[in-house]
Each structure stands twice: as structure tokens, then as C-alpha cells.
């Protein structure tokens, strides 16, 4: 069934969009990532104009994150105080990020900076998680419980707060810093930032994996909502019909994902996410290194 999207101004098969939303929702529920880093390139691939893809992608991320967070709340796997602290840092970070984005666009080459940022961060995060996951899997198969790492300098910082759900008693400075850096990167790269947030929470803050996913989704809701509004107001490129189709697929996918995630153990989950992140990274690296089929590309309007 073909459907004409009013803002994207293209006609696309509705079932394809439902399926696409479903797959991204599944990953979102399973791994606690918003799925922005997947949905945007996928939409671009099926012929949605890039600006509309970025803006509408963030709207769909709101829906799948709400759906996922509710499932996690039910299992008491969301650390709301921690989420709020991260969000506070995140908002400062996105403000800085948008400023950086505009400064870079003024010099041209923003596309390249974004692409390189993707390759570097996806690669780093993917390798780190894969290494940790494999190590943890070996450890748990030998029967020893995995020990949680905690940097000693983090322990010495002031403003300590008790985060009950995470079982942590740490300073609020590291979570604010994590939120800030992730928010900054997210704004420049145009994503929710879950794929950076999740490993940062595990490795830098030492939060238990089960809590990390729900908490990450919780703060992604607000970051993506903020981005959606910004896109709707500044470049008027949110396609609500496209979003609705992606959302219908996405919310169902997210529910299945978060229940599936309950059955898999944390180490397996971590390795799966690492492989997914590395696959996207490999694709982006190939795009940069291999000679493109079409050297020329069209952009509407007169640009530098």
C-alpha cells in the first residue's frame, strides 16, 4: 500500500515503514538505545530527504523510548534521580552542541565532521563493549561473579548522592559530565546518544547493566523531544505521517525487545549491541573510503 508523505513529498510503501519502525523499536527495547543512529541512515536509504529523515527520526525515538521506559519502569529498572542528573548535563551539552554545529556549518564540511564523529565513536564504543562483554562472559562461565569497577578518583569527588536503584553512592559531578559530553555529541551528530550513554554509564559510572537501559531511555525521551521541537520550529521538516507509521511499528517492536532483553543475560546483550555498533561503523567507514557510485549529489537551495 503506497502512501504519500506530506512533508517528505515522496510516496512510499506503508508496510515497509511499519517494518522499519518495528526493527528499530526492537533494538531500542533490547539495548536501551534510541535507535537514532539506525533509523536516520535507513530512512535516507529508502529515499526520504535527509533533513526530514533526521527530524522525523527523533520524533519516532520519543515514542519507542516512552514505550520501552514504561516496560522498564514496571520492573523497577529505571533510576529516575540518576536520569535527571544526566539530563541536566545533557541539556547543557546540547546547547553547546548546537552552537558547535552552527559554527561548523558556517565553515562547510559539517557532513564530514559528523561522519568522522560517527566512525570514531561507534568504533571506540563497539570495540570497548565487545572486549568487556567477551571478558565478562568468560568470567561468568568460570563461575566467578563479575566485579564492578569504580575509579578511585571518582570516589574522592564532593557532592555525593545516594542513587538507590543503581546501588551507588557517588558525586553528581561525573554523571553531569557524562550527560554533558553525550548531549554535545548527540546534538552535533543528530542522534539521541544512547549508544554512547549506555557504555558511559556502565564503564564510567559503574551502574548495573539492568538499570542502565531503562535510565538511558528515560533521559533519551527528553533529549529527543527537545530535538523534535527544535526541528519543527527551525527547519519545519518533521513529517507526522511518516512518524506515525514508524511509531506504530516502533512501539510494538520496543515492547517485544524489552521482554526479549529480559530473557538474555547481560553479557550476551552487551556483545550483541557491540556487534551492531561495529557493523554500522564498518558501513560508514566503507562509505568514506570506497569510491562512491555517484560522485555528485544535489542539495536544494544555493549553498556554499
Amino acid at each position: 500500500m503506497q502512501i504519500y508523505l506530506p512533508i517528505a513529498e515522496v510516496s512510499i510503501n506503508a508496510y515497509l515503514l511499519l517494518g522499519l519502525g518495528g526493527v528499530v523499536g526492537l533494538l531500542s527495547g533490547l539495548f536501551g538505545v534510541g535507535g537514532g543512529f539506525l533509523i536516520t541512515p535507513l530512512l535516507f536509504f529508502i529515499g526520504i530527504p535527509p533533513v526530514v529523515a533526521v527530524a522525523t527520526g527523533s520524533n519516532q525515538v520519543v515514542a519507542s523510548s516512552v514505550s520501552g521506559v514504561l516496560a522498564h519502569l514496571k520492573r523497577k529498572a529505571v533510576d529516575i534521580p540518576m536520569g535527571l542528573v544526566l539530563l541536566a548535563g545533557g541539556m547543557i551539552g546540547s546547547g553547546l552542541g548546537i552552537w558547535l554545529f552552527n559554527a561548523l556549518s558556517a565553515r562547510g564540511q559539517i557532513d564530514l565532521v559528523v561522519q568522522l564523529a560517527y566512525v570514531v565513536f561507534l568504533g571506540l564504543v563497539g570495540l570497548l563493549m565487545l572486549q568487556e562483554g567477551v571478558r565478562a562472559l568468560r568470567r561468568s562461565s568460570r563461575g566467578r561473579p563479575p566485579q564492578r569497577r569504580q575509579h578511585s578518583w571518582i570516589q574522592r569527588l564532593p557532592f555525593k548522592v545516594k542513587f538507590r536503584v543503581s546501588g551507588l553512592y557517588i558525586s553528581v559531578i561525573p554523571p553531569i559530565m557524562v550527560g554533558l559530553v553525550v548531549g554535545l555529541l548527540a546534538a552535533v551528530m543528530g542522534v539521541g546518544g544512547g549508544f554512547i550513554m549506555v557504555p558511559a554509564m556502565i564503564y564510567l559510572l559503574g551502574m548495573p547493566t539492568k538499570v542502565v537501559i531503562g535510565t538511558s531511555l528515560f533521559q533519551i525521551i527528553f533529549v529527543s523531544a527537545f530535538t523534535t521541537m527544535l526541528h519543527a520550529i527551525t527547519n519545519q521538516s518533521v513529517d507526522v505521517v511518516l512518524a506515525l507509521l514508524l511509531i506504530l511499528g516502533g512501539v510494538v517492536g520496543a515492547q517485544i525487545g524489552s521482554r526479549l532483553g529480559n530473557r538474555l543475560n547481560a553479557e550476551q546483550l552487551r556483545i550483541l549491541l557491540a556487534l551492531l555498533v561495529l557493523a554500522v561503523c564498518a558501513k560508514l567507514t566503507a562509505d568514506l573510503l570506497l569510491r562512491p557510485v555517484e560522485l555528485y549529489s544535489l542539495y536544494s537551495g544555493v549553498r556554499p
Binding site: Q60, L112, A232, I233, V251, S297
Partner: protein, 253 residues
């Protein structure tokens, strides 16, 4: 006497009556883009009106074009810098049609002289207007060729030589398929009658392409009240997320 002289003068001043005149019509001059819009078809038909028998000489030909609203376009080229492919050069075209279709009764090169083509801007490369901004590349040709190539691949630019059927040198029809990725705006259909490369008559008609119904409403809301639109999109997203979660809980319990 004076009246007769004036009448004679008027007759002398009046343009010479053309031997062959064009009469044409469109199957539709109003295309509505609905949610189920999946491209459209348009038929342009007509006849050649004559007072005298068909003149001797080279055969009569018909060229039909449909042109969409124009907009500026920037064409960028990637090149390899330090091992990676990045956008380096760019050329901006001040105005290129969003859609352009040409149908003819024969090879364009044979039925239309270069001068006439330049005057009427009929063939594809001529449908684009001048470059915008300072030119930073030596040769713009590969850029405009790329624009034509990419738009042709998207089905937005088409050339169909022999796409017009001319019967007995009098009646003609041309069928056009408008693609699903049509942009709204005022489209223009032009019909040219040529003989020996010269345009002997021309007819022009407007086609309106407009979003209707839900499509119109969504588009208008975003343009007129983006804040409300953004909030509505978010409300929809949150409601859908909550509904899915509640539905799954009910299924499980």
C-alpha cells in the same frame, strides 16, 4: 470612403493568418495529491487547424513539454582527499525545474533547430537557468550533466522521442506519467508545432498540482504553527508509546 480606407489599412496591419494553427487540450488541469497519491497520468491532445490543404515540404512535427516549478539547486562533487571521499567542489544553479518531461514525434535534433531551441528553451539542458553565485570550478559541464543524470534516474526528467503520436499530419496525442515524488506547484504544459526546424505555432496551458485533504492540512499546520505541530507530534509519540505498553501488559495478564 474614409471608412473603407481605414478597413483596408487595418487588414494590412493585421498579422498574416498562419497557414497551420494549433488547437490543444489537457485531460486534466488540476492534480490533487492525496495520501494515496501514487503518481498520475496526463493526456495532452490536439489538432492542427488549416484553411488550405497540407503544404508541401518537410513533414510537420509536434513537441510537447511539461515543466514543474523551478527552484535553485546546488550540485556537489566528491573527491578523494587524504584517503577519504568528501564534498569538495560545488556549483549552484539559480533555477532548475523540479520536473521536466519532453515528448516529440521525432528526434529532437532533427525536428528543432538550435536557434529555435535556445529561443524557446525546449530541450533539457536549456530548461535550466543561469548559475548562482561566484563560480569556483573551471568546467561546469560535468555538474549540470550530473544534475540531469540524477534527476533522470529519479524519473523527474524524461525525454521521450516519438512519445507523441501524430495521425494524418492533423491529430496528435501525448501521454505523460507523472511520478509519485511530485512536488506541488504550478506546472506548465507547452505544445510546439514545427516544420523544417522552425516553430510555426505554440500553445501553452497551466496544470495545478496541489496537496488536498489530510496532506493539505498537515502541510499547512506545519507552515503556520510549527510549535503546535511539534507539540502534536510529541503528544502522538508519547500516546502511542504508552498505548503499546498498556496493550502488551493487558495481553500478558
Amino acid at each position: 470612403m474614409i471608412r473603407a480606407a481605414l478597413l483596408g489599412l487595418l487588414l494590412l496591419l493585421a498579422p498574416a493568418v498562419r497557414a497551420e494553427e494549433l488547437v490543444a487540450g489537457l485531460s486534466q488541469d488540476n492534480i490533487g495529491i492525496t495520501a494515496r497519491f501514487d503518481g498520475s497520468e496526463i493526456l495532452i491532445y490536439g489538432a492542427v487547424k488549416r484553411d488550405a490543404p497540407i503544404p508541401f515540404g518537410p513533414p510537420l512535427h509536434v513537441i510537447v513539454t511539461i515543466e514543474g516549478p523551478s527552484a535553485p539547486v546546488t550540485i556537489r562533487r566528491k573527491s578523494r582527499e587524504a584517503g577519504i571521499w568528501i564534498n569538495t567542489d560545488s556549483v549552484a544553479v539559480a533555477s532548475a525545474p523540479s520536473f521536466y518531461a519532453v515528448a516529440t514525434t521525432g528526434g529532437l535534433a532533427n525536428i528543432l533547430s538550435t536557434e529555435e531551441d535556445e529561443r524557446q528553451r525546449i530541450s533539457l539542458p536549456l530548461a535550466m537557468r543561469s548559475f548562482a553565485g561566484p563560480l569556483r570550478v573551471d568546467d561546469t559541464r560535468p555538474f549540470t550533466e550530473a544534475l540531469l543524470r540524477i534527476r533522470k534516474a529519479q524519473g523527474l526528467y524524461t525525454v521521450n522521442e516519438r512519445g507523441v503520436r501524430l495521425v494524418e499530419g492533423t491529430l496528435f496525442r501525448a501521454d505523460f506519467t507523472l511520478p509519485a515524488n511530485l512536488v506541488e506547484g504550478d506546472y506548465k504544459a507547452r505544445i510546439f508545432l514545427t516544420r523544417a526546424g522552425k516553430v510555426i505555432d505554440m500553445h501553452q496551458a497551466a496544470i495545478q498540482v496541489r496537496k488536498v485533504g489530510l496532506e493539505r492540512w498537515v502541510f499547512a499546520l506545519l507552515r503556520e504553527n510549527p510549535v503546535l505541530y511539534g507539540l502534536l507530534s510529541l503528544a502522538l509519540a508519547v500516546a502511542a508509546g504508552w498505548a503499546a505498553s498498556a496493550a502488551f501488559r493487558m495481553i500478558r495478564s
